[in-house]
C-alpha cells in the first residue's frame, strides 16, 4: 500500500469519523450527566432534514445549520421532559425519538417539497464547502508533509474542524470548569449535587441541551457538508455506532475521539478493500462489510476491558419514593 493510498484512507476516516464524533460527544455530555440517550440517531436525522430543508429554501447553509440545531434541540427537550421532569424510562424515550424522527422527516419533506421525502439538492451557499488551508496547493508537492497538510488536514468543511476542536473543548469544560465538575457529579451522584445546593434538573437539562446542539451539528454535517441534501434515513445507524464508540471510550472525550477515528478507519479500510484478491481466493464482499464490526468486537474483547458507566446513569433522580 503506497503512501498516497494511506493518506486517502485517513482522509476518508476523518470524514466518516466526524458525524460519529459529534454524536459521540453529544452522548458524552448527556450520559455524563446521568441521562442515557439512544436517541442520538433520531436527533441527527431530524437535524439532517431541517438543515437541508432550510438551506434549500433560504440558500444559506448557516441558517440551515441553525434550523438543524433547533430541531435537534426540540427532540432533546422532549427527551429531557420525559426523562428528567417526568422521570420516565430513558431508553424508551430514546427509542420513541428515533421512531419519531424517522417518520416526521419524511412526512414533512414530502409535504414541503414533494420530492419523495427528499430535499432539493443544495448548491453554492446552501452547502458547506471545503476550507482550503493557506498554501495547501503550493505545498502539496512536498513529499510526505505535503500530502498530509494539503490532503489530510486541509480541505474539510468547517464542521469537521468544529468537531475535532470540540474534543479538547469538551475535555476542558468537563475537567477544568465549574460546570464540568457539576456535570460529572450529577451523573455519579445527583444527591450530592442536590445537597450541595445545585439544581439537578437544571444541570441535566443543560447537558441534554448541549447534546442536542452537537447532534444538530452532526446531522447538518451529513446533509449539508458531506452530502447536498437530505435522503430519508440517511443517518444509517450512525447514532448507534456513536453510542458504541462512547462506551468504547468509557465516556471520556479524548478516548471518544480515538474510538470514533478507529470506527471511521475500519470502515474506510473496509470500503476501500472490497473484493481484494488474495492469491486467487476472493474474499466475499460480505466479509469485508462485516470486518469493521468483527474487529470492533476483537479490539473490545482484547484490549478495552470493562466499561463502567456513570453511576447514576439511566436512573431518574427521585428524592421521594
Amino acid at each position: 500500500m503506497d503512501f498516497l493510498t494511506l493518506i486517502q484512507i485517513f482522509d476518508s476516516t476523518i470524514r466518516l469519523a466526524t458525524p460519529l464524533l459529534l454524536a459521540c460527544l453529544a452522548g458524552l455530555y448527556s450520559e455524563r450527566a446521568g441521562i442515557f440517550d439512544i436517541g442520538l440517531e433520531g436527533k441527527m436525522l431530524m437535524s439532517a432534514f431541517f438543515s437541508a430543508a432550510v438551506a434549500a429554501v433560504t440558500g444559506s447553509v448557516w441558517l440551515g445549520l441553525l434550523a438543524g440545531i433547533a430541531s435537534s434541540l426540540l427532540l432533546a427537550g422532549l427527551h429531557g421532559l420525559a426523562s428528567i421532569t417526568f422521570r420516565g424510562n430513558q431508553l424508551i424515550s430514546g427509542v420513541a425519538i428515533n421512531f419519531l424522527a424517522a417518520g416526521m422527516t419524511v412526512l414533512i419533506a414530502q409535504d414541503w417539497f414533494q420530492q419523495g421525502g427528499r430535499t432539493p439538492s443544495l448548491f453554492g451557499g446552501a452547502r458547506f464547502e471545503p476550507i482550503d488551508w493557506p498554501f495547501a496547493e503550493a505545498l502539496s508537492g512536498v513529499p510526505v508533509v505535503g500530502p498530509i497538510y494539503s490532503e489530510l488536514l486541509s480541505g474539510h468543511s468547517v464542521l469537521v474542524y468544529i468537531a475535532f476542536l470540540a474534543v479538547p473543548a469538551t475535555w476542558w469544560v468537563l475537567y477544568r470548569t465549574r460546570f464540568g465538575l457539576r456535570l460529572r457529579a450529577v451523573g455519579e451522584n445527583p444527591a450530592a449535587v442536590d445537597t450541595a445546593g445545585v439544581s439537578v434538573v437544571g444541570l441535566r437539562y443543560a447537558a441534554v441541551a448541549i447534546c442536542g446542539v452537537l447532534c444538530g451539528i452532526a446531522g447538518a454535517y451529513l446533509a449539508t457538508a458531506l452530502q447536498a441534501g437530505f435522503v430519508k434515513d440517511m443517518t444509517a445507524g450512525r447514532g448507534f455506532i456513536a453510542l458504541a464508540a462512547l462506551i468504547f471510550a468509557k465516556w471520556r472525550p479524548w478516548h471518544a475521539m480515538w474510538a470514533c477515528l478507529l470506527f471511521g478507519l475500519l470502515q474506510a479500510v473496509a470500503l476501500r478493500f472490497q473484493n481484494i484478491d488474495l492469491g486467487g481466493v476472493v474474499i466475499p464482499v460480505q466479509a469485508m462489510d462485516a470486518l469493521p464490526y468483527i474487529l470492533t468486537v476483537v479490539i473490545l474483547a482484547g484490549f478495552v476491558g470493562k466499561a463502567i458507566p456513570p453511576k447514576a446513569g439511566g436512573e431518574p433522580y427521585v428524592k421521594e419514593r
Binding site: L16, M234, R272
Partner: protein, 309 residues
C-alpha cells in the same frame, strides 16, 4: 380501478418504485383516473395487499419487484378474474398475470460502453446497493459493455452494505465513490437507490462522470452525469393502467428492442456524448436487437464472464 403495490423500498426510492409511481401519476394526470396504492412495510404485507386489493375489486393489480413472485404464485389462482401485473418477474406459471421483465443487462451494456469510451484513465466503477443477484445482473451487463470497448479496462465494483440501510446511505456512497476515484475510476455507475444520490453528488463534486439508473437522472448534475441507464418501469406501469382490465397477460421481456431499457440522452448530457460514442452505442444496440450480439445475463448461470463478484 387499478392498484399499485410498491416494494419495500417505498415509492420514493429514487429508483424503480419511483419510476412506477411516475408512470401511475402520468396515467392519472392524463386520464383523470384514480388508483389505489400501498407502500409495503413488511414481507407479510405482500400477500395481504394482493388479496385485499383483489377482493376490493381492483383490476389490474400491479406489483413491483421480484419478491412478489412467491406471494403472487399463491394468490393469483384464487382470483382468476383479476389481472395481475408483476414487474421484474418472468418465471411464473399463472394465466392471469402479466409478467414483465427488463433486460437490464442490455441497457447496462450500453452505458458500460459509454463509460469505457468516456473514461480517460481506463478504469470505470460500479457501485451497487446490496450484493443481490439483481444488482450483479446490472453490474455484469455494464462490465461486458465496458470490456467490449476496451478489453483491458479495469472495472472496480463495490457494494454498499448488507442491511436495508445500504439503499439509503448516501454518505457511504460518497466514500465508495472517492475510494473508486483513488483507484483510478473516472466514470462510475450507481445502482444503489438513495445511496446513488451520494455517488452522483460526489462524482460531480470531484469532477468525474457518473451514470444514473432506472429513471433519467441526468438533470441532477447537468454536465456531470454521463448518462442514465433507463429502465422504463414507468412505461410498463402506464401501459398496464391504460390497458386496464383488458390487459394482455403472459410474459413480456422488455429489452432494447422494445425500448424497455436504454440510455438517456438529453440536453443535460448532450455535450458529453460525442458523435462517435453515440454511433458506437447505437450500432451495438442494433446488433443486440438483431441478435448479432449477445449480452450474457448474470442469471443464466449465476456468473458473469466480465466481472467477478
Amino acid at each position: 380501478e387499478p392498484a399499485l403495490i410498491f416494494d419495500l423500498g417505498g415509492k420514493f426510492d429514487k429508483s424503480f418504485n419511483e419510476a412506477a409511481h411516475n408512470g401511475a401519476q402520468r396515467w392519472a394526470n392524463e386520464t383523470g383516473g384514480t388508483y389505489r396504492e400501498i407502500e409495503l412495510q413488511s414481507e407479510a404485507q405482500r400477500e395481504q395487499a394482493l388479496r385485499r386489493f383483489a377482493e376490493a375489486g381492483a383490476n389490474p393489480v400491479i406489483t413491483m419487484g421480484f419478491a412478489m413472485a412467491d406471494p403472487l404464485s399463491a394468490v393469483a389462482p384464487d382470483y382468476p378474474d383479476t389481472k395481475f401485473v408483476a414487474v421484474d418477474v418472468t418465471w411464473l406459471d399463472a394465466p392471469n398475470v402479466r409478467q414483465i421483465g427488463f433486460a437490464e443487462h442490455e441497457g447496462s451494456y450500453l452505458v458500460g460502453m459509454l463509460a469505457a469510451m468516456a473514461s480517460k484513465t481506463g478504469t470505470v466503477g460500479f457501485i451497487g446497493g446490496m450484493d443481490i443477484p439483481l444488482i450483479r445482473h446490472f453490474g455484469c451487463g455494464y462490465a461486458q459493455g465496458a470490456k467490449a470497448v476496451n478489453p483491458d479496462i479495469k472495472i472496480v465494483a463495490n457494494m454498499t452494505g448488507t442491511t436495508p440501510a445500504a439503499w439509503n446511505d448516501p454518505v457511504k456512497g460518497s466514500e465508495l465513490t472517492k475510494a473508486q476515484i483513488s483507484q483510478g475510476a473516472d466514470v462510475i455507475y450507481a445502482a444503489a437507490g438513495g445511496t446513488g444520490v451520494g455517488v452522483l453528488q460526489t462524482a460531480a463534486d470531484e469532477g468525474i462522470l457518473s451514470i444514473g439508473v432506472d429513471s433519467n437522472q441526468n438533470h441532477l448534475h447537468p454536465g456531470k452525469v454521463l448518462t442514465s441507464m433507463l429502465k422504463r418501469v414507468d412505461v410498463a406501469v402506464y401501459d398496464a393502467m391504460k390497458a386496464g382490465e383488458n390487459l394482455e397477460t403472459g410474459v413480456f421481456t422488455l429489452g432494447l428492442a422494445e425500448d424497455g431499457v436504454g440510455y438517456a440522452l438529453d440536453e443535460h448530457n448532450a455535450p458529453l456524448i460525442t458523435d462517435e460514442m453515440k454511433a458506437a452505442v447505437d450500432e451495438a444496440r442494433q446488433k443486440i436487437i438483431d441478435g448479432e450480439l449477445e449480452v450474457v445475463s448474470y442469471y443464466e448461470n449465476d456468473s458473469c464472464p466480465a466481472l467477478q463478484f
